[in-house]
């Protein structure tokens, strides 16, 4: 069996001809396997969706209970046969419930990483390298300038700033699924136990994380809190809301942004960020290279991001590699755009 018979790129996303299903399709399909709940990977309208229990729950929270015709939960490591293709899900370390998809038929193994990171994250199961013949990797941060420092140090930077400017509000932009909860957990680990205020768009997902057993201490909604509460407080909000009318309630705020993009100064300045926090949901350059090597793969396919650099790197290691030029992924930046502003009438 050729790898292309087990998995190939198609206009609707990665497709398994042998198993007749898609992985993270960008349009509605009869059968989809979903790696995680971010909106560029998990879309509504599929007839049948297979994913981890957490990913299914998150999809229901974000898109409503009728997001798919039928759903099926599969635990990490459990196997299922789809039209003769053995399918299993394995932790990707990206966000709660995120999974890599392992496909096997006739002794050929392909692993689709979805989005992943090999760095520690207290809010999700750690990434597990899976041995395979073909590894399908993302390359969001696929340039050697992206080397993410330990997240704890970035949180220390935030708390040091809170000490220097105790009268100002620190608004931390963080994607509502995953990053925001990871920041809460890290801030608590660093010993900061004052209430953390959150934008309304974060409450649902945060409550869900808590229902899965995570403890973020005192998390309060911004809405309804007196203005005086925000002096010296940390507020977590979706990135788009930081420049919204919503942010006006804070006196002299310091704009912080937790993202791997913050590694590059120009990116931070373009967004008007005053305190960039390099905290990423994705593997950095070293993480990508190490993870790829750990799979022992003979061939590398790169879905989205800085494909050219990663493919070049693979070639210098005598590893067969090609870019898939998938469109529709890596738009997590835009994720927040769909979030309705809180406390503000929707535009006519």
């Amino acid at each position: 069996m050729r790898p292309e018979d087990l998995l190939c790129p198609s206009p609707k996303g990665l497709y398994s001809p042998a198993g007749d299903f898609y992985v993270d399709p960008t349009r509605a399909v009869p059968r989809a396997v979903i790696t995680h709940g971010h909106s560029d990977h998990a879309r509504a309208g599929h007839a049948h969706v297979l994913a981890t229990r957490e990913t299914l729950d998150i999809m229901a929270l974000r898109m409503g209970p009728g997001f798919a015709g039928a759903t099926q939960a599969l635990a990490y490591g459990a196997e299922i046969i789809l039209n003769g293709v053995k399918v299993s899900l394995h932790p990707a370390g990206h966000v709660l419930g995120s999974a890599q998809v392992r496909l096997e038929k006739d002794g050929l193994v392909i692993v689709v990483s979805g989005d992943y990171k090999d760095a520690a994250d207290p809010t999700c199961a750690p990434f597990e390298p899976i041995r395979c013949h073909v590894f399908v990797s993302e390359a969001t941060f696929g340039l050697p300038v992206f080397r993410h420092p330990p997240a704890a140090g970035e949180v220390d930077k935030l708390l040091a700033s809170v000490r220097i400017f105790p009268e100002r509000t620190h608004i931390v932009g963080a994607y509502s699924l995953g990053k925001a909860q990871r920041m809460m957990a890290l801030i608590r680990r660093a010993g900061h136990d004052a209430p953390i205020y959150v934008h309304g768009a974060l409450t649902n997902i945060t409550d869900y994380y808590e229902s899965c057993g995570m403890d973020f201490g005192e998390i309060l909604p911004v809405k309804g809190a007196p203005k005086s509460a925000f002096a010296g407080a940390i507020v977590i909000a979706p990135p788009s809301s930081m420049t919204d009318l919503w942010a006006r309630r804070f006196a002299d705020p310091i704009t912080c942004f937790a993202s791997g993009w913050m590694r590059v100064r120009a990116r931070a300045r373009q967004r008007g960020v005053e305190l960039p926090l390099v905290v990423s949901d994705h593997a950095d350059w070293d993480g990508l290279c190490a993870s790829i090597r750990a799979t022992g793969c003979e061939e590398l396919w790169v879905t989205h991001g800085a494909e050219d650099a990663l493919v070049h790197w693979a070639h210098t290691r005598q590893l067969r590699a090609r870019p898939l030029h998938m469109v529709g992924y890596g738009e997590e930046d835009e994720e927040a755009v769909v979030v309705a502003p809180e406390g503000e009438a929707p535009p006519p």
Partner: protein, 547 residues
């Protein structure tokens, strides 16, 4: 080094002046000598290293990184220091080690060309990303963290709050005699030592500035107490010369903030043939005529100048005041006395490069109003185009540093105004970070196909009230037709859009702007909600002003 790196890192993102001062003061307060003094030297641009140049950095990274990956990365990041700092491969087992800033400064100044790359590589191996970035910034010589020398000195002065109450101007006064690491400066500000003696024979003296006069101020002022002169549109300078204890002659030209700009104007050095300190306006004078400001601009912000530039744009000082004459400090004398000494000095110098700023005679405020309105007929003659208003000085005013209220007033010409159409708006920083507060505006011109199109002519980010800012912001959000990162394009049709009355000080031809003109000091004067964009001004109107 780590603390200095953290300071630079934080400053590079901070837009607010006061917050920058606080960050620097916090660093100076908690960092011992000589480290903080060397940081101060780096921030004020007082460090440079003969053997440590960007070429060394390029060679080091070429030995360690795949050239294709380096080019892709450099392309993405756009800054050499940052690219190298981020992609520097730390060797397996390299121990984290951050040398002191003093070790680095000492090493960069003393290592030979041959040994420097090896030491530099060792440091880069031990430092983290931010540390590497700061080190490489030291070498490439451009901090670009938005802190002027003045701001750094203000931060030093702030250490004396509640102790010595040393002011930034006093720091400026002693500064020229000091050398890194400035231990005696810190000791003085913190009340642990005497005021440092300046041994510089040509030190900068803090400049006296004027308040803008309002119509209502005149009623309380008696014209008989005042003298008037033209306010020239050049750059305010202080020409200082003296003889050192070793007999060496020192000649300096300072900007009004005390930056030494002597190197950019070597053609003035010979003309400053006196011991003392003169206050005046630096201008370009050709064939006896003062050139407009945009001509002078050709010579600003240059470290070195070519012979051709010196010949084409000859520098000139039009003298306003005399602070020191030989051994006499005149700053405690009244203006009238200083003026007499200045007139005598300029006559004695007898050089075509230095002349007197003439007095504008008047006996009533009405007479001065007339002169201001038409400088050409009131004595400025052919140079009237370089007059940007009048200065009104009490005859008995002493020369005081800073901007004391009362002795000196400036009365600028009424600005030009133009009705322009808002085209793009960008979000501001800090307090304004949720507001669209930077505005690009345009005027009408004939497009390629004969139709009327708007061409951008300038950008303004102040002049409006807080209330007006809210109104414009609401308009921008409502009228957005395109988004480019933090920039929004707003609707600008003949019958739909927002007209801004923009005030500005002057125009210059520019090849960098599509419209071919650059505006000087534009600001929003009024919002013209009443005016349809189709009735805004045309480019031809502005071109007529260029003459």
């Amino acid at each position: 080094m780590n603390r200095f790196a953290a300071l630079l890192d934080r400053m590079s993102y901070e837009a607010g002046r006061n917050a920058k001062i606080r960050l620097m003061a916090d660093y100076f307060r908690s960092t011992p000598d000589p480290e903080r003094g060397l940081a101060l030297a780096a921030l004020t641009g007082a460090l440079s290293f003969a053997n440590a140049k960007p070429g060394v950095v390029r060679t080091l990274i070429a030995e360690r990184a795949d050239p294709v990956l380096f080019e892709m990365s450099y392309d993405y990041v756009g800054d050499l220091s940052e690219t190298v700092a981020l992609m520097w491969p730390r060797p397996e087992g390299a121990r984290p080690h951050a040398p002191l800033l003093s070790e680095i400064v000492h090493g960069l100044s003393t290592f030979s060309k041959v040994s420097l790359p090896r030491h530099l590589a060792d440091w880069l191996d031990g430092l983290d990303e931010t540390g590497r970035w700061a080190l490489l910034k030291l070498i490439t010589g451009s901090m670009r963290v938005g802190a002027s020398a003045r701001l750094a000195k203000t931060a030093v002065a702030s250490l004396g709050q509640g102790l010595t109450e040393v002011t930034p101007d006093e720091v400026e006064l002693v500064w020229p005699g000091l050398e890194p690491p400035y231990e005696e400066l810190f000791a003085w500000v913190e009340g642990r030592g005497p005021r440092p003696e300046t041994s510089n024979p040509a030190p900068f003296r803090p400049v006296m500035l004027a308040h803008a006069i309002e119509e209502t101020d005149f009623t309380a002022l008696d014209p008989a107490d005042f003298r008037a002169e033209w306010k020239w549109d050049g750059i305010r300078v202080q020409a200082v010369a003296g003889t050192g204890p070793d007999g060496a002659r020192v000649v300096r030209l300072y900007s009004r903030t005390g930056e030494d700009i002597s190197d950019a104007f070597p053609d003035m050095a010979e003309a400053i043939a006196f011991d003392g300190a003169m206050d005046g306006e630096l201008l370009i004078v050709r064939d006896g005529r003062v050139e407009p400001f945009n001509v002078l601009q050709q010579r600003l912000n240059r470290k070195t100048v070519t012979v051709k530039m010196l010949a084409e744009f000859p520098a000139h000082i039009r003298a306003y005041d005399l602070l020191v004459d030989g051994a006499d400090d005149l700053r405690g004398e009244p203006f009238a006395t200083r003026r007499a000494r200045l007139e005598a000095l300029v006559a004695r110098l007898h050089t075509p490069r230095i002349d007197l700023s003439p007095m504008v005679p008047f006996s009533t405020w009405e007479a001065l109003t007339t002169a201001r309105r038409d400088p050409a007929s009131a004595g400025a003659g052919a140079d009237a185009g370089a007059v940007e208003g009048v200065m009104i000085k009490r005859a008995d005013s002493l020369y005081l540093p800073g901007r004391p209220k009362g002795p000196w007033w400036k009365w600028k010409r009424d600005p030009h105004t133009v009705d322009a159409v808002l085209m793009y708006a960008q979000r501001g920083h800090g307090k304004r970070s949720s507001f669209y507060s930077d505005y690009t505006f345009g005027v009408w011109t004939i497009g390629d196909e004969g139709e009327d199109v708007l061409v951008p002519v300038g950008k303004a980010y102040f002049g409006f009230t807080d209330e007006e800012l809210k109104q414009i912001d609401a308009f921008v959000r409502r009228a957005t037709i395109n988004r480019f990162g933090p920039v929004r394009e707003v609707v600008h049709e003949k019958d739909e859009g927002l007209v801004l009355e923009v005030a500005f000080e002057g125009l210059a031809r520019s090849t960098r702007h599509r419209s071919g003109i650059a505006m000087r000091f534009p600001r929003i004067a009024r919002l013209r909600w009443d005016k349809p964009p189709g009735e805004a001004d045309r480019l031809e109107t502005l071109e007529a002003l260029l003459g």
